[in-house]
């Protein structure tokens, strides 16, 4: 039998052993003696979540196209195996070769959400790699981070040798070439970091010193190494139709959360919602060509055998070739039993036509994300969706047979009042009323409205990066208010209200805008037993509170504090393209309840034009301004 890192007995003892055996369909196998660079790509959450992530599939394919590099994968061992690995001192291993990760050259960790931070420490500790970068020796792999959380990497900066800030397609080749050369010359760890510190997009935290003022805000961010740059520029792939994309993604044996082909149709978003980090840091909006997407849809469905294909983007309706692409997918694959799923679609005549073709109207539901309950607050956050559009879309859908609606809102948005919160209940009720305007004999039973609220978490590089976040108490009282308002509605029996836990959002708020001092809290909380914090059954808020207290840090300093324009923010040294001036301007407009048109209607001069492409140069702007 092929060698596995875990014994049969262990695999028969734990839940879902298939998480750890590798050997999936489409994995890359390479002979180790022909390889110069071993790269282990990690998603610090359980296998089924990690395997659903498109970014790793893109990078896995890209790295393995290099003959000199073997890229493998690793995910967080679930708590049952975690315990056994600690007891038996089994080093964490990569799925493909089942070899210990500590033997690799690089361990690349994707940082998709803040609540995975303790899982990073678990990966490092189980791999038997020192948790703090400063304690690593010449024999240890380089530990690097990439993904959305690198737009403020400071709370985890001490655990990483370097961060890759920007899109993976751009400079990895150069980085690996430098590494090969470095390995041949036999340079030190520090020398390699100095070389790559000069590359755009690479941030080496140990090359920067942070000084704090008496009030604990940052006094200065200073380079301590001549190779480090003043500001780290985000790297961006500008040609979305001639770049890496996997034609044969790995297919897991056990059901992943996303058990389907994922087709990224565009990157970036023109909408400019002021709370949305992705909408700011992935500018400019860049589309992939319809031809590229058709070709990849075909190859990926064939290579995986998946029964479903999902289009991925921040706002699918804004993709210019959407109709052509969707009708192609329906015609080409609909008859072959392939489901087509279209998240983030604005409800209009086209969407309803497509949905009626690909879904069972009786079983599916419509989704709207008004985000805020009143037009005033939607203007504050620059969410272009109007009540009129929601009601019109809902009525049309009801007339076509739908009777289920899901609504997503955020609570705690800047300037929020009780009227805005009540507005959530009123809007939910108005949609239900819309349903009952249809004559009884044409209705499809009762209407069902599910309204969910999450708590707003201010993120770096958004116009709301300066705002005060609500406290747990404020959130809970708002939640309470909404529940009572929901119960006052005429159609209350048709409305179901779901809410999120406040504590998790508060902690997310700390990590989102935290500084380097937070890393010790993460370390202590992890050592005290925090792991899988994004899983509510494993989230131990009391341990977190204790870790903050023991380190003399206040949660409120990071969350419930309005920042001044002059304050040096922990992520200030990163240049994402969108400028601080633009973000501040947008914050001011938000307070004045002024909306900003989307990128296709007019240029708001956000700064992303420096990348020389995408929507900024699509020619639409000129037409509008004439």
């Amino acid at each position: 039998m092929k060698k596995l890192a875990l014994s049969d007995e262990i695999l028969m003892t734990i839940e879902k052993p298939a998480r750890y055996i590798g050997n999936e369909i489409n994995i890359v196998k390479k002979e180790l003696d022909k390889i110069e660079i071993r790269f282990c790509m990690c998603f610090p959450d359980v296998y089924e979540i990690g395997m659903s992530h498109l970014g790793i599939q893109i990078l896995y394919d890209m790295f393995n196209r290099r003959e000199d590099t073997y890229c493998e994968r690793v995910y967080s061992p679930w708590v049952d195996l975690d315990k056994i690995m600690r007891e038996k001192k089994i080093p964490l291993f990569a799925l493909e070769s089942q070899d210990p990760i500590k033997e690799f050259d690089f361990l690349g960790i994707t940082l998709q959400y803040e609540m995975c931070y303790t899982n990073i420490l678990q990966i490092l500790e189980l791999s038997q790699i020192p948790i703090y970068a400063k304690d690593r020796s010449e024999e240890d792999p380089f530990v690097l981070g990439g993904g959305p959380c690198t737009y403020n990497p400071e709370p985890i900066a001490d655990f990483f040798d370097f961060f890759y800030i920007g899109e993976g397609e751009v400079i990895y080749d150069e980085l690996l070439d430098l590494y090969k050369e470095h390995k041949k010359q036999g340079g030190t760890r520090r020398e390699f970091l100095e070389k790559i510190a000069e590359l755009d997009g690479i941030y080496v935290p140990s090359f920067y010193d942070i000084e704090y003022k008496d009030d604990l805000t940052i006094a200065s961010i200073t380079k301590n190494n001549p190779h480090a740059k003043d500001s780290v520029k985000r790297v961006v792939e500008m040609n979305m139709s001639e770049t890496y994309y996997p034609k044969n993604p790995v297919v897991p044996y056990i059901k992943a959360t996303q058990d389907r082909v994922v087709l990224e149709i565009q990157r970036g978003c023109i909408r400019g919602c002021r709370f949305c980090q992705a909408g700011m840091v992935y500018r400019p909006t860049r589309e992939r060509s319809v031809e590229f997407l058709k070709e990849y849809a075909k190859s990926m469905l064939k290579a995986t055998g998946h029964e479903e294909i999902s289009l991925s983007s921040l706002s699918s309706s804004d993709y210019s070739g959407l109709q052509e692409l969707v009708y192609y997918l329906i015609d080409e694959f609909g008859t072959k039993g392939v489901n087509i799923s279209l998240p983030s679609l604005r409800i209009d005549a086209f969407a309803l036509d497509v949905m009626s073709k690909v879904q069972d109207v009786k079983k599916s539901s419509l989704t709207f994300a008004p985000e805020a309950g009143s037009q005033r607050l939607r203007d504050v956050v620059n969410k272009g969706l109007t009540e009129e559009a929601i009601l019109k879309g809902a009525l049309e859908a009801f007339q076509s047979g739908w009777n289920r609606v899901k609504l997503y809102f955020m609570m705690g948005l800047p300037t929020e009042t009780e009227e805005d919160i009540e507005g959530i209940a009123i809007l939910s009720d108005k949609i239900a009323r819309e349903y009952y305007t249809i004559p009884k004999d044409q209705r499809n039973g009762k209407v069902s409205i599910v309204s969910s609220t999450s708590f707003f978490v201010p993120k770096p590089f958004t116009p709301f990066q300066w705002v005060r976040m609500n406290t747990t108490e404020e959130y809970l009282s708002k939640q309470h208010l909404l529940r009572s308002k929901m119960n006052e509605q005429l159609n209350r029996k048709s409305i179901k209200y779901n809410w999120h836990e406040a504590e998790l959002s508060i902690l997310e708020g700390v990590f989102a805008r935290g500084d380097r001092k937070v890393s010790k809290v993460i370390y202590d909380a992890y050592k005290a037993g925090c792991l899988y914090d994004s899983w509510s059954e494993h989230f131990k808020y009391d341990l977190w509170i204790k870790a903050f207290e023991e380190n003399g840090l206040s949660i409120a300093f990071y969350t419930s504090r309005e920042r001044e324009l002059e304050e040096i923010l922990p992520w200030e040294f990163i240049d994402v393209g969108v400028t601080k001036e633009f973000l501040w301007r947008e914050y001011s407009r938000a307070k004045a309840e002024k909306v900003t048109p989307n990128c296709k209607l007019g240029c708001a001069n956000c700064g992303a034009k420096v990348f020389n492409g995408g929507v900024c140069f699509d020619g639409v702007l000129q037409e509008v301004s004439q």
Binding site: I21, N23, G305
Partner: protein
């Protein structure tokens, strides 16, 4: 048209559970772009059914799966097309087109052959002693075990459900009338262990009577006065049979030879 596929399951993939094997086949059939039949409705599924689910941790040379196709190529080509998109450790070894009137595999399963090997590193009897003891164990008039259900505990005699056993593959095949199986160009995917302690057995399987090899080993350990450790055995299924003929003259026929 109805077809029956025979496949192996081995190596690391023994840890894939039955439902995931089903998903695996659905995707493999799509990768091979075969003209499979789907059920009607908004969430159509492929028309397929398995003969007898294999537990997690078990390996097999003889798993069966019935699939309905609109059209298909010659069996040899179907095997090639599928294996080209399959994992090394789940491979098709036979493909048969069945008459439309044939019953589905699950409903006709009557027996299965197993090879139980003792894994290295577990305390167990010496090989010679094991063979002597196992023979004695089998020669008892009855082998009574307690079967626990949700409601009650029942004493059951499992001896009638052990159809045959043997320590050497050849002897075993002779005893079950499958001597021919030895002559074929056949290589098993079963794992082998240094200690060489193993036993072949043919057991009642299916919806009427079903005896798991684990239960036989547990009963044996009880008889021999040694502790039963669930992790100590590698169980390998070799073949699955249907009962053919009438009540007085029944013969067991491998599922891919039932017409």
């Amino acid at each position: 048209m109805k077809t029956r596929l025979k496949f192996t399951k081995s190596g690391p993939l023994k840890f894939i559970g039955h439902l995931d094997v089903m998903r695996y086949f659905q995707k493999a059939i799509r990768r091979a772009e075969l003209d499979v039949e789907y059920s009607q409705g908004y969430s159509p599924h492929q028309l397929m059914s398995f003969a007898a689910p294999l537990g997690v941790g078990l390996t097999s040379d003889g798993e069966y799966l019935d699939v309905q196709f609109h059209t298909c190529d010659a069996p040899k080509i179907m095997v090639e097309k599928l294996n080209a998109v399959m994992a090394e450790d789940i491979q098709i070894v036979d493909f048969k087109i069945l008459p439309d009137t044939s019953k589905n595999a699950m409903s006709i399963v009557a027996a299965a052959d197993y090879l139980v090997s003792i894994k290295d590193g577990y305390s167990f009897l010496e090989k010679e002693l094991f063979e002597i003891k196992f023979k004695e164990f089998y020669l008892q008039n009855s082998i009574n075990i307690t079967k626990k259900t949700k409601k009650s505990e029942n004493e059951v005699d499992i001896k009638p459900f052990i159809y045959s056993y043997g320590f050497l593959q050849k002897d075993f095949f002779d005893s079950i009338g499958q001597s021919g199986a030895m002559n074929q160009d056949f290589s098993s995917v079963a794992e082998t262990y240094k200690n060489g302690i193993r036993v072949f057995m043919q057991l009642a399987t299916g919806s009427v009577n079903n005896l798991k090899p684990e239960l036989v080993m547990e009963a044996f350990c009880q008889y021999a006065g040694i502790e039963y450790n669930t992790f100590a055995y590698q169980i390998h299924r070799m073949e699955v049979y249907a009962a053919c003929g009438n009540d007085s003259d029944q013969t067991l026929v491998p599922l891919n030879q039932v017409l």
